[in-house]
């Protein structure tokens, strides 16, 4: 009884405290058993891939993948990073992801600013049309986008990937940001106008800094989405040397068919950047995912 925090508003009826507390203890135990069991079940695959990545090839070959590990060898990481091309792919991914996140947030914030703070004609229609672009199934765009980038001479370059990713994400980011910016009180903006600030200054100095929580949430989301993307990469890229991490991981799988330790190490490496972003922006990340659910 003393250890469980009483809910702030529990009514003050407390019959038979002893029996009740025993029942509560049983309940608490049941809760931890269920939730703990699920948590273990969920973490098990991750633990398994981590152990596989540090086993030696001969250990896996002779004892099988499902056996308990009998070796410890970090060589697979070097293999996946160097010979397997993981390091190079990581560089490609960052070259794509960072500009994509910055550009899409900047463009979306500019559009959201104008659409939420000024009487742009048809502003609601514009917002919804932009959002609808993001809801389209990407399959309808694949063939024309591949051809369009060929036509512009940027097919098989990371530039094409950045532009496509920015274009496809804009609608959603604009929609979320304009909703957020609308809730900023107008008085701040009026004070700035009286002080002689132009719209660009208002955007850059007042509205954008106040939108920081939303930008952090969307930034963390945009980072994982872009970094984890497979479909657009294999649509506008062909050469192996320009492939980002996700498609490179598929290549690794083909290259190291039964070297499961190298493949596992590759998938561990591929997860590191998004895990780091998640840990750094955990709170924002989760509130970002929940956007739309509460509205």
């Amino acid at each position: 009884m003393t250890t469980t925090k009483p809910a702030a508003t529990v009514p003050v009826v407390r019959p038979a405290p002893a029996r009740r507390s025993r029942r509560r203890q049983a309940r608490t135990f049941g809760f931890h058993l269920t939730a703990g069991g699920l948590a273990v079940l969920w973490l098990l695959p991750i633990a398994l891939v981590l152990t596989t990545s540090v086993r030696s090839f001969s250990d896996i070959a002779s004892n099988g993948l499902g056996a308990l590990p009998g070796s410890f060898d970090l060589g697979s990481f070097g293999e996946a990073w160097g010979v397997g091309g993981g390091g190079h792919a990581m560089l490609n991914s960052l070259v794509v992801t960072i500009p994509t996140v910055l550009l899409s947030l900047l463009l979306a914030a500019a559009a959201a600013f104008a659409l939420s703070r000024y009487r742009i004609p048809f502003r609601r229609t514009i917002i919804l049309v932009m959002l609808s672009g993001n809801l389209l199934p990407p399959q309808i765009l694949l063939v024309p986008v591949a051809k369009l980038s060929e036509l512009l001479g940027i097919y098989d370059t990371l530039t094409a990937l950045v532009i496509v990713q920015v274009g496809f994400g804009l609608g959603f980011y604009t929609f979320v940001l304009q909703g957020f910016m609308r809730s900023i009180p107008d008085e701040l903006q009026q004070a700035a106008v009286i002080d002689g600030a132009g719209p660009v200054q208002i955007f850059w100095r007042i509205i954008l800094p106040m939108t920081r929580p939303a930008l952090a949430a969307l930034g963390a989301l945009a980072f994982t989405w872009t970094f984890n993307d497979l479909l657009w990469s294999i649509t506008v890229l062909r050469t192996e040397t320009v492939m980002p991490v996700t498609p490179a991981l598929l290549g690794l799988q083909g290259q190291y068919v039964s070297n499961w330790n190298v493949i596992a190490a590759g998938s561990v490496i591929a997860a590191v950047p998004t895990v780091l972003v998640f840990l750094r922006f955990q709170k924002h990340f989760i509130s970002g995912l929940a956007i739309g659910a509460i509205k």
Binding site: T3, K5, T28, H32, A35, L38, A39, W42, I46, L48, G64, L65, G66, A108, A110, A111, A114, R117, Y118, I120, I126, S132, G133, L135, L136, P137, Q139, I140, L141, L142, V143, P144, V145, K147, I163, V166, G167, L170, G171, T174, D186, E187, Q189, Q190, I194, G198, L230, T246, L249, L250, W260, A264, S267, A270, A271, L289, A290, A293, I294, K295
Partner: protein
């Protein structure tokens, strides 16, 4: 600050003037999206009416591609699998996500850890997820070892190579990743419910089942519709997990419309037929898109 509280009329007038630079603020993003999303989408619809190998000029065939689907067995399999995928992937992740959220809703000791554990896979790419599960599914992998250990050795399988099990074997990693996400959506929704409602119900002696039926469920209505839209759109987009585990095989047994579309376009180079498949995916998503937009429009006012 108080001095600056301008009357409503003036505020409105201040908003009405649109400085020219703001047109640029709107136009640049709209043009980027228009050029890379809407223009290609229109082309996609047109291409679905053509035969095209990507090299010579596309030839117009009207509804020929759509007629061809009727007798295309692989299309039939892919369409059926997509429906199975929507029902199972959607149904299980919605019900399971809600269940997990209800279980982990109350703040108590350890709940943060449990939430984090269930949520972790959301951070991984579907390709990495697929590789993790491929390790598990291998003939000498953990699943088969476990089956043998509990005396079900006869159930051992090469899960991804058997047409009977491939689709379901691919579904499990997809669920492993999606459940935590749906749980977050529902947790956010549950947090938005006024606790006073539960207090009143408790005073009236309502059981927890009654509380769920009469308070939680009705209050979650808007979250349910978000989850439903997200799930259907996600199901129709599902590509990465299937492509990296089976490429739709063996013998197209795990083929979804999205993987079939990709293979038709970029491996068979039948760009017209692939575009028609993409249009089918669009048509399936259309109702959801419209519902979502109508909802967004209403809440935007």
């Amino acid at each position: 600050m108080a001095v600056l509280n301008a009357p409503a009329v003036r505020r409105r007038r201040a908003m009405r003037r649109v400085p020219p630079v703001l047109l640029l603020f709107v136009l640049v993003p709209v043009v980027v999206e228009g050029f890379w999303v809407f223009w290609p989408a229109l082309q996609g619809f047109y291409l679905s009416l053509t035969n095209w190998d990507g090299v010579s000029a596309p030839s117009f065939v009207g509804l020929g591609n759509y007629a061809e689907m009727l007798s295309d067995d692989i299309f039939g399999t892919a369409a059926l699998n997509t429906v199975i995928w929507i029902v199972l992937f959607g149904g299980i992740s919605a019900a399971g996500g809600l269940g997990l959220a209800l279980l982990l809703n109350r703040e108590r000791r350890g709940v943060g850890f449990y939430r984090a554990a269930l949520f972790t896979p959301v951070v991984f790419s579907l390709v990495a997820t697929s590789l993790i599960w491929q390790v598990i599914y291998q003939p000498d992998g953990v699943v088969n070892k476990l089956l043998a250990a509990v005396g079900l050795g006869s159930w051992q399988h090469s899960w991804l190579a058997d047409p009977q099990t491939a689709l379901y074997a691919v579904l499990i990693p997809a669920l492993w990743r999606q459940l935590g996400y749906v749980m977050v959506l529902y947790l956010a929704g549950l947090k938005g419910i006024d606790p006073a409602l539960y207090e009143a119900a408790k005073l009236d002696g309502a059981t927890s089942v009654q509380q769920f039926r009469h308070i939680t469920w009705p209050q979650l209505r808007s979250v349910n519709s978000v989850v439903l839209s997200v799930i259907i759109i996600d199901s129709l987009r599902s590509f990465d997990v299937v492509w990296s585990m089976t490429k739709g095989g063996p013998y197209h047994s795990s083929e979804l419309l999205s993987t079939y579309m990709y293979a038709t376009a970029f491996q068979s180079l039948r760009l017209g037929y692939a575009s028609a498949l993409a249009v089918v995916i669009f048509v399936l998503a259309f109702g959801v898109i419209v519902t979502y937009l109508v909802r967004a429009f209403r809440e935007d006012q």
